[in-house]
């Protein structure tokens, strides 16, 4: 029995470093509120790309546009996976099929189901059998479930969820539930994984654990990660590239070292420094 995994959790066939997700000139308005204004950014295959910014900067709105929950009034979002998919016109379920998976800021798991059941649900988009063959269960549906379970078990192994496999999600700690949510998104075998504040509300130790798992997902499974996060320390430590939003605009974009020394970013985060007259 070899220890290496048999399933590839990365749903993208692109070369590492190739442009995968392209957000081009996107604007989103709610009535008179401009949530996003001419936002453009590019995500490369195999990278951890962080989107940061103060509260209300438009980070979650941007993620919602990518996953199809919001329709921007202007601009395009394209995903390169097999062929080029335009995401701004598509339904969320279709976008998920194309390989965009996400986790939510507030945990959106089925609390009365076990960890295993939640993860198996992540395989839903890959299930091929209809209600009738599933009702019969034996034969094709059973074989399919075994096949999907193998992949789910590799996710359990990767994220070290073994001890909680058969526990109800609602009874697990907050940090653990966040990890389960990451696992469910991973079960889709995504081309891009969108994580909305995966470390919000965690203590230092839980944050470190989560950062480890995000790195594992990225390095071991090769999955591209787009990450919204408030904790600057974590962002600068684990990201390959950082985009900074403020009031719906991109104010900086680059590698962590460039971004953290950018005056516009410092201003957005710390306020303007008064110069002595």
């Amino acid at each position: 029995m070899a220890r290496a995994y048999r399933h590839n959790l990365n749903g993208s066939s692109l070369e590492r470093g190739a442009r995968q997700l392209e957000v081009h000139d996107v604007s989103l308005r709610f009535g008179g509120v401009r949530a996003l204004e001419n936002v453009s950014l590019g995500v490369h295959q195999g990278e951890i790309h962080a989107v940061i910014g103060p509260n209300g900067a438009g980070k979650t709105s941007l993620l919602n546009c990518v996953s199809g929950l919001y329709r921007p009034q202007h601009g395009s979002i394209t995903l390169q996976n097999g062929k080029v998919h335009e995401l701004t016109k598509a339904r969320p379920s279709r976008i998920a099929k194309w390989g965009v998976a996400r986790s939510f800021q507030n945990i959106e798991l089925f609390k009365h189901m076990t960890v295993l059941e939640n993860l198996m649900l992540g395989r839903h988009t890959h299930m091929r059998h209809n209600v009738f063959s599933a009702l019969l269960y034996w034969g094709p549906a059973e074989r399919q479930e075994i096949r999907e379970r193998e992949l789910v078990e590799e996710v359990i192994d990767l994220l070290e969820l073994q001890a909680a496999r058969k526990q109800e999600v609602g009874r697990l700690s907050y940090g653990f539930q966040k990890r389960v949510e990451l696992g469910r998104a991973l079960c889709i075998q995504p081309a891009v994984l969108l994580l909305d504040e995966p470390m919000a509300g965690m203590n230092t130790e839980e944050k470190e654990d989560m950062a480890r798992f995000i790195l594992d997902v990225n390095e071991l499974a090769g999955v591209t990660v787009v990450l919204i996060e408030h904790d600057m320390g974590v962002v600068m430590d684990i990201s390959d590239r950082v985009t900074v939003l403020d009031f719906g605009r991109v104010i900086a974009d680059g590698v962590p070292a460039e971004v953290s020394s950018d005056p516009a970013v410092i201003k957005a985060y710390l306020g303007e420094q008064k110069t002595a007259a």
Partner: protein, 648 residues
């Protein structure tokens, strides 16, 4: 079998059982993944050839560093197949400990598990301290794909290369295995090292196998005795059951999925044989205690009644008397409603024999397991005599003794009450340490350094390490470990260190609380706390522990009762060298590190201020002043405590 060795026994088992019986199984991906005896043998052969391609030669030492996995056992047997030996390292060991063993044993090839262990070796190499090591073999490739370390080779890659070599020279390995002698060193086993750096005991195939067969001559083990291997294979106890007995009995070894799933994996297997050090039994007991305190009153009553009957029945049985009709009936009911369900929760339903060893276990813990129907027996031995020399026989389990010598073992009491042992399982010496060897081995007798005596029935009673035995103010000789075990019966006490004797006027204790149980206790009482230190210093927690201290004082003679105690601001940790890797207290380190606290225990103040150095991960250090309370119990027993409480 002439000149029996581990590899020869493996070959015989593979021939007998082929692919019909399972030798090893590891739980992965939620299911038990079996390896049959045939496949086990094939993999050992392939890996042995793989080691040969790296130039592994007769008499060489292979180091193995990782958690219990099939690859661990395969590596050991492969090294032995080539006439070499293995030395196991504790997977939680820090780099200094690993360096000491690798350097001392002159290891050229290290088999290690995963990225975590490889990183330790790389850290040693970057510090220029990995002089002897030429190859690192890793069996978990996760995270290593981008490691550009020239020493590193993957386990399955080496197996593949080995299989190629095997095809080139068929039959070569059979010759190598046949050349193995029973007197060859099979393993270098680290001693626990309560006093200093661990020494490496040389144990031969003959030592280990004789010990195994002597043990099995009184406690038969057969191929259906499933065994779950979750304690470090670097420890003699695990080597002894998993390999020395396992290869003779031919049972299936099961490796749990993860450290966190041991309990549930064990329930799935339902082992019939168990061997664990006291801390495992103590933690099983606290699980029961904690779950009972969470249960409703009905369950608590039922269990208390059932356990009372169980205790009476066990006491009768152990005294060699019959139960009588009333107790038999009562016991049958208790078994059904209280005892069996608890055993089931602990995964002990099918256990025929359970052993504890490595350190003394408190009599209260013993009595508990017998009351719920677990046949728990004490084993006494040392690494130097392959772990088992003296133990309880089925018909004579007495909580205060460690039993009688197993067949082939002579027990004598030497100068200064020192226990002396002689048997074919006694080691040939410490590796490259003649001075220590000469001290331990004199005229064929192993000088254990433990103090003890033989009681009227010839049962051995172990007092403690000879140098730890203390003499109280009134001249009574006592063992600090005995008192410590009394304290550790409380689920709230994680570790305890007892002082006294010499010019100290009374007995005092340093206690580290159990964060989990005390934390739950505090939450239930709406007691808020932040850190371990904060929790430990709550007056409420002091009274909680004072109860445990009073209960321990109950059975102790006056001069041995604990008068003052302190709750430590941190748990004792093997990483801080306060415990050995097998979790034995290192009294020397503790005496120097906590000198201030110990002085205060014998002073008059009711608090002591110490400075604690905190090392942050970025390498900076900060010193904090911490004030610890000291509680005086004046040796009160629990009845006296109640009295005081009533008077208030």
């Amino acid at each position: 079998m002439d000149e029996a060795t581990f590899p020869k026994l493996l070959a015989a088992l593979a021939e007998r059982h082929g692919d019909r019986r399972v030798a090893l199984q590891e739980k992965r991906f939620g299911i038990w993944q079996p390896i049959t005896w045939g496949e086990h043998h094939r993999r050992v052969r392939a890996f042995a050839h793989g080691l040969a391609t790296l130039g592994f030669a007769r008499g060489e030492t292979l180091a193995i560093l990782g958690d219990n996995r099939p690859e661990w056992v395969i590596s050991e047997l492969a090294a032995q197949s080539l006439g070499g030996r293995s030395v196991g390292l504790y997977p939680d060991g820090v780099v200094d400990e690993i360096h000491h063993v690798l350097d001392h044993a002159g290891v050229r090839i290290v088999v290690c598990e995963d990225q975590e262990q490889v990183d330790k070796l790389i850290a040693l190499r970057e510090g220029g301290r990995l002089q002897t090591v030429e190859h690192i073999v890793s069996y978990d490739p996760r995270g290593l794909a981008r490691y550009a370390v020239d020493l590193l080779v993957q386990f399955d890659e080496l197996e593949r290369r080995g299989a190629e070599l095997e095809a080139e020279r068929p039959g070569w390995l059979d010759g190598e295995v046949a050349a193995g002698r029973a007197s060859d060193t099979a393993i270098l086993c680290t001693t626990s090292g309560t006093t200093g750096k661990p020494k490496l005991a040389m144990l031969s195939h003959d030592n280990l196998l004789t010990m195994g067969s002597n043990l099995m001559s009184i406690d038969p083990i057969d191929r259906d005795d499933e065994y779950v291997s979750f304690l470090p294979l670097a420890w003699i106890g695990e080597q002894m059951i998993a390999l020395a007995c396992g290869l003779q009995a031919g049972f299936t070894l099961s490796f749990p999925e993860d450290a966190a799933t041991v309990r549930s994996d064990m329930r799935e297997i339902g082992p019939r044989l168990m061997f664990s050090p006291p801390r495992i039994w103590e933690s099983l007991l606290s699980t029961v205690q904690v779950r009972l305190s969470d249960a409703g009153w009905l369950k608590r009553r039922v269990f208390a009644a059932g356990q009372a009957i169980g205790t009476r029945a066990a006491d009768r049985r152990l005294a060699g008397r019959r139960l009588g009709p009333a107790l038999s009936l009562g016991h049958a009911v208790a078994e059904l409603v209280a005892l069996r369900p608890v055993r089931n929760q602990l995964g002990l339903t099918r256990v025929r024999r359970a052993y504890t060893g490595g350190a003394p276990l408190g009599p209260d813990v013993f009595r508990f397991f017998h009351s719920i129907g677990v046949n728990l027996k004490q084993i006494y031995g040392q690494t130097e005599i392959c772990g088992i020399a003296v133990m309880h026989t089925d018909d004579a389990v007495r909580f205060n003794t460690v039993g009688v010598g197993i067949p082939g073992t002579d027990v004598e009491i030497g100068e200064g009450s020192e226990i002396l042992l002689r048997s074919p399982a006694v080691f040939s010496g410490y590796y490259r340490n003649e001075e220590a060897t000469a001290e331990a081995l004199r005229d064929g007798w192993l000088h254990t350094g433990d103090a003890g005596y033989l009681d009227d029935d010839g049962h051995l009673v172990v007092i403690d390490r000879a140098k730890d035995v203390m003499e109280a103010a009134d001249g009574t000789v006592f063992s600090p470990a005995f008192i410590e075990n009394k304290l550790k019966f409380s689920p709230y006490v994680d570790e305890a260190v007892v002082f006294g004797g010499g010019d100290r006027p009374h007995v005092a204790a340093m206690v580290a609380i159990d964060m989990e149980t005390v934390g739950t206790w505090a939450e239930k009482r709406k007691l808020s706390y932040t850190t371990y230190t904060d929790l430990a210093q709550k007056p409420e927690v002091y009274s909680l522990v004072a109860e445990a201290v009073a209960r321990a004082n109950d059975d102790l003679p006056e001069a041995m009762r604990i008068q003052r105690f302190v709750l430590l601001h941190k748990q004792l940790d093997a990483d801080d060298e306060e415990l050995t890797r097998t979790r034995k207290v290192r009294r020397g380190t503790i005496a120097t590190r906590y000198g201030g606290i110990i002085r205060a225990l014998y002073g008059d103040d009711d608090s002591v201020t110490i400075s604690s150095v905190v090392a942050y991960q970025d390498g900076t250090q900060a010193t904090r002043e911490i004030s610890l309370r000291i509680a005086s119990t004046n040796g009160a027993t629990s009845s006296e405590r109640e009295l005081v409480g009533a008077q208030r």
